[in-house]
Symmetry: C2
Subunit: 335 residues, 2 copies
């Protein structure tokens, strides 16, 4: 039974998990949908009441019936590297590849439908609250008047994009920024605006979840968070400390498990802001969030946990036992 | 409790259902996401453990908590008519609108995730067979050799696009076409190709499903289906007869109910080919298929059934009792 990994060629994070799978003797097929058709071939026959599908890459052919799991890491757009690339060919290749993979019994990390749903920020905030996570008061609106009223109730606010992406679509993120007093909200009418009560944070928390396992890391905030140019985003903050492993409070662990279960996610990277009372405030859950930087700084064996989940069976002793160490209440059962 | 209809301004099929809802006294809010932001406004607040969302169009404001159902008919792309339209603004507006609607208790026709899954043709063929519908032997492949072997086993084939769309993206459909003997399959390597055993059909069947209700219509095939230029698609055939109501065989009704249940669809338009033995062969299920032309030719009250489902309660006597008539085994319970 093979693990299928859909990702681009340059993906060192995927490499980390592949090393573990190889060491455990688990067959892996790695391919980039961008290469279909071309370097990647696909075939499926529906006849005599049965479906038989095959994938081919680099001369190797694997039966879809023999897939144990599918890791949707960072796949390219289907057919984007084809000799006759077009929007139409992309649609044909997308439906062919993902349509057939949906017919298999393989486990998904993450299923495309769950992944798509999980990207909606308003739904994330709603689900987090429903699962018992603390969520800062948030407004998303196209009404300038409503934005002004919200500011009166919550004077200390940050603003960020709803989708978390950058207008220039250049791979950069937009930093979360403090709202200046007396802000003019007229432009809110031209695009949905997300305003959120600012958490006076002492640290950023990244909680990486792999199946039932959780790896929490904490980066203490810099001294002068309040004194800078208004950017409060850890990704842009020079003062943030290094990532260090941290224990997960039981209530948070239970709430996060509930979130993942209701969202149908096998993987999720949660961002929290820790306040001066030690409360973890939910900011977002990225269903395809990176974990390489956390693993490198903390030594937490996240890639190994991913490999374990994909394998669906014990992988034998860790490659480097000295770096094992899982910071979760329920971890001992799964480690 | 309001029915929300997401569709473009010009949508006479939606008009048909709106007339029924209006006659039944059910409040309707109709809007095109293309007008967000601009003609359409949206606002949602997440605070004190609750979510409160509002939609606004034409000066009318409706609470999202008061939505009974959402009909995703033919919505425009969010923000596509905005003054500062961009791919980024579309992403922001999409996540805002659909992200908030996902937080409501409203019933969907159809839920976006179910709709997306249902579009995958390979998955349709697989599910149809799993539910017990007859499916013609089908191959989807990028391997010329596999295509040639399939032709040897099934010499009488048709070819059609996997996605059902046209390469020119001009709103036209690609007709289903017979494969010529001795076809050169080398180009299969450049794009996934769908080959299907041709059904020697006596009629086309359109089965329109609305919740638990079914409306079947039959159009007898023209005399010279085999003698023409190879196009066997009813949409392009001059010889096809008019659409007439027809009874649904019990086995088909049971299988189709199973299909809709497993697909999570509240609406689906099934296309079958009826062969000389009277067998209905599954060709596809379009989760957003048109029904206006069937209703007009057959008099089947499909728009009324849609309105009834959206209302979720009896709508009173039909507008034109003379045209009632539902051709389904289970219809009497729901009519």
């Amino acid at each position: 039974m093979t693990v299928l990994i859909l990702t681009s060629e340059q993906d060192v994070t995927a490499d980390m998990a592949v090393v573990e799978l190889n060491a455990g003797g688990i067959p892996v097929l790695r391919l980039d949908p961008a290469e279909l058709p071309g370097g990647v071939g696909v075939s499926g026959e529906f006849a005599h009441g049965a479906f038989h599908g095959h994938l081919s890459v680099g001369g190797r052919v694997v039966s879809m019936g023999g897939l144990r799991s599918i890791w949707v890491r960072r796949p390219g757009t289907p057919a984007s590297r084809a000799s006759a690339a077009s929007a139409w060919l992309t649609e044909e290749a997308t439906q062919t590849l993902y349509g057939m993979l949906r017919c298999t019994d393989a486990r998904w990390m993450n299923h495309p439908d769950a992944a798509r749903q999980a990207r909606h920020k308003p739904w994330q905030l709603w689900l987090a609250r429903a699962c018992g996570l603390p969520v800062p008061a948030t407004l998303i609106t196209t009404f300038p008047r409503v934005a002004r009223e919200f500011t009166e109730r919550y004077p200390d606010l940050v603003v960020k994009p709803v989708s978390g992406t950058h207008p220039g679509d250049n791979g950069l993120a937009v930093p979360t920024t403090r709202v200046r007093p007396g802000e003019d909200y007229r432009d809110v009418a031209h695009g949905p605006t997300l305003l959120q009560r600012r958490i006076r944070k002492t640290a950023d928390i990244r909680l990486t979840c792999v199946g039932e396992r959780m790896f929490a890391a904490r980066a203490a905030s810099g001294q002068d968070t309040d004194a800078t140019d208004g950017i409060v985003d850890v990704r842009f903050s020079a003062g943030a400390g290094p990532w260090r492993p941290v224990a997960v409070p039981r209530r948070i662990a239970d709430a996060v498990h509930g979130y993942l279960r209701r969202a149908g996610l096998a993987y999720g990277a949660f961002d929290f802001a820790e306040d001066t009372d030690g409360i973890w405030w939910f900011l977002e859950c990225n269903q395809s969030g990176q974990f390489g930087f956390v693993e490198i700084e903390t030594g937490q064996p996240i890639a190994r946990a991913v490999a374990q989940w994909l394998a669906g069976e014990p992988l034998g002793p860790p490659l480097d036992p000295g770096e094992e160490g899982e910071w979760t209440l329920g971890g001992a059962e799964h480690g």
